[in-house]
């Protein structure tokens, strides 16, 4: 039982992290029509910035985290200015390939900055654990789950209840019509890019203490994030969260009960099966047709 609980929480933790990356991708896609496969580079960048701030620059851990998120948001703004205009007229496939290459460029930058040696990022809670139903659960895990829940709730509220959210939804539906209605299309693009980028960075920061810090650390999580987005039909938040949690749990339970070295096979296999047999997702999203 305690094993089950421990694995459950690890799975939820990973699911939370994948959710953050995935929602960043989905929100950006819905608002701008761009599928950003560079997210994995941003995940790594966010983690390394926090690492630099806390280790090399000696700042307190929480400050480092916040600094990283702010910097990543600015990086997002920069990305929007540089890449949005040339990419928005291209077909989805070209955008996917281009952003994938861009992601590797970020990885390369990290390699330049530091090197490819694995490092580790400390958590706000160190290695402290809490005992739940007889299992030692890292406080960091609970922290991650809570942060993610708050983020999802905030985003959901922002999308459905605020003016800005309404505008983004209108934007996703028809950009030109939205512009004619006086919606500040450019400003919203910048905001969504910044948001997606910050979420990627946050995911990296939360992932740091769980996995090792390597330049390519974001690649698997981003693949799982795409998987979650596909399971959720590239549409509803709830579906995406469910997909991310499903993949995280598959990884941990597979790893715990079958073999820990092979643990990533389980979510990848799930992804392959879903793409093969139910590409529209398990929850009937509406946007998959556009892809």
């Amino acid at each position: 039982m305690s094993n089950f609980v421990a694995l459950l929480f690890s799975g939820l933790t990973l699911g939370a992290i994948y959710t953050l990356v995935s929602l960043g991708i989905v929100i950006l896609y819905k608002a701008t029509g761009i599928v950003n496969a560079a997210q994995f580079g941003l995940v790594g960048l966010g983690a390394y910035i926090a690492f630099w701030a806390s280790t090399d620059a000696g700042m307190p851990l929480l400050v480092s985290y916040l600094l990283s998120i702010v910097v990543m948001a600015l990086v997002g703004v920069g990305l929007e200015r540089l890449t949005y205009a040339p990419l928005r007229t291209r077909p989805v496939d070209s955008v996917f390939l281009s952003t994938l290459a861009g992601g590797f460029a970020f990885v390369g930058l990290i390699v330049l900055w530091y090197d490819a040696e694995p490092r580790s990022l400390r958590s706000l809670f160190g290695l402290d654990t809490v005992t739940i139903l007889g299992a030692p659960v890292p406080k960091h895990s609970l922290f991650v789950i809570v942060v993610c829940a708050i983020a999802v709730a905030a985003l959901s509220w922002a999308f459905n209840r605020t003016d800005m959210g309404r505008q983004v939804r209108a934007l996703a539906f028809d950009r030109d019509a939205a512009r004619l209605q006086g919606i500040a299309v450019n400003r919203l693009s910048i905001i969504t890019f910044a948001l997606a980028s910050a979420m990627a960075g946050l995911a990296g920061i939360l992932l740091g203490p769980v996995a090792a810090l390597t330049p390519e650390m974001g690649l698997s999580p981003m693949l799982f994030a795409f998987g979650a987005a596909i399971i959720g039909g590239f549409g509803r938040f709830g579906g995406v969260v469910a997909g991310a949690v499903l993949l995280g749990l598959a990884e941990q339970f597979g790893g715990g009960y079958i073999s820990t070295n092979w643990r990533e096979i389980f979510p990848f296999a799930v992804m392959l099966l879903i793409i093969a047999f139910r590409p529209e997702g398990l929850f009937g999203g509406e946007a998959s047709a556009r892809l």
């Binding site: 599928v35 040339p86 989805v92 496939d93 070209s94 996917f96 390939l97 281009s98 994938l100 290459a101 861009g102 992601g103 590797f104 460029a105 990885v107 390369g108 930058l109 390699v111 330049l112 090197d115 390519e216 690649l219 698997s220 693949l223 795409f226 998987g227 596909i230 073999s259 070295n261 092979w262 990533e264 096979i265 990848f268 296999a269 992804m271 392959l272 793409i275 093969a276 590409p279 892809l291």
Partner: protein
């Protein structure tokens, strides 16, 4: 074989009026008139001459060998991606499948048998993957291919058969290729072997270009629904091309394993597939020569970048971005564009299809 080639040439030029009824009735489409075979032979001769002058230089010849090996993989990618229209981010994984299968079997069964098994395994797996993902649209296929690739690397890292638990998947001491008693112990000898293999691959690929498969694949890539209304199954066409392309990737892996002597799972990760795409796009995705050109170019580039090796990843990715955005036709595209212009100046008319 020679008779087939000769009759093909004559038929395409309609040069035997008495033989067939009608003068130009029976002349085949322009693609059959291009000098494919000549180009292949010329290429092989050039490389042979350059290589022959360098066989003593272990280092240079190893770089050549790398370029030749990777060319096989990029030609495969040309068929899978450019003709088949599929985002084959699994190409490096199939290289790994080929490499490891052959490496594991060859101590007991010899090179030829092991290589053969490796190719068959890759063909079966790639056909299976293509079949599994046959309804997936491009981006979804890309993600599926990447998921498959990650699974393959995981297997290579952790399976006992590939010395996963003991050696992290690294295999050493792979014997150099040997065919029917001919040994190729040194890199200088391996060079000739690789050149021969690449020659065969190019020849095979040319045969495919000079066949209905070419126009079927171009049509399927352009407007798949209309090809269906004309009786061509777009998915079958794509699957065949993907299988052929991935099997070539496996062949490249086999060649890599036996020419380098050691292999490690890192060499077959998703990032390597991105590099292969870069080579194909840089060289010019519109023609199979693009893959070769890109492979050669980007195998030499690290040699120049050696002093600043850390910049390699950044340069590669930015190069890929630049190519996608600025030079969609790559090196070969630029060359053929220049050739078109030159032909225009000398007054030669005709806008025959521009695929090599």
């Amino acid at each position: 074989m020679r008779r087939v080639l000769a009759s093909e040439r004559d038929q395409s030029a309609g040069a035997k009026p008495g033989h067939r009824r009608g003068k130009s009735a029976g002349a085949l489409p322009p693609v059959y008139r291009r000098r494919h075979y000549l180009t292949v032979v010329a290429f092989l001769v050039v490389i042979a001459l350059i290589g022959a002058g360098n066989t003593e230089n272990m280092y240079q010849i190893s770089v050549f060998n790398n370029a030749l090996t990777i060319s096989v993989a990029t030609v495969g990618l040309y068929f899978a991606y450019q003709l088949g229209g599929m985002f084959a981010f699994s190409q490096a994984a199939f290289m790994g499948i080929g490499a490891y299968t052959s490496a594991i079997l060859s101590p007991d069964y010899g090179f030829v048998f092991s290589a053969g098994v490796a190719l068959i395994v890759a063909a079966v797996l790639s056909y299976g993957l293509a079949f599994l993902l046959r309804n997936a649209k491009h981006m979804y296929f890309a993600i599926g291919a990447m998921a498959f690739a990650e699974i393959v690397v995981l297997v290579l890292r952790n399976w006992e058969v590939t010395a996963g638990p003991t050696g992290g998947g690294n295999l050493y001491g792979i014997a150099p290729p040997s065919v029917a008693g001919y040994e190729f112990p040194l890199p200088g000898d391996i060079f000739w072997f690789l050149l021969a293999v690449l020659g065969v691959v190019l020849l095979l690929s040319v045969l495919l270009e000079r066949s209905p498969l070419r126009r079927h694949s171009l049509a399927v890539k352009a407007i798949p629904q209309v090809t269906e209304s004309n009786g061509i199954d777009p998915r079958r066409s794509a699957m065949t091309l993907f299988t052929y392309g991935s099997t070539l990737g496996a062949l490249a892996g086999v060649l890599q394993a036996h020419s380098l002597g050691t292999i490690a799972p890192e060499s077959f990760e998703v990032g390597v597939s991105i590099n292969l795409f870069l080579m194909l796009l840089l060289g010019g995705a519109g023609s199979l020569w693009g893959g070769v050109a890109g492979a050669f170019f980007l195998t030499w580039l690290p040699e120049f970048l050696r002093p600043v090796k850390e910049y390699e990843t950044v340069v590669y990715s930015l190069l890929l971005l630049a190519v996608i955005v600025l030079f969609p036709n790559g090196i070969v595209g630029a060359i053929s564009w220049l050739a078109e212009k030159a032909r225009g100046w000398t007054g030669r008319k005709g806008k025959a299809a521009n695929h090599a």
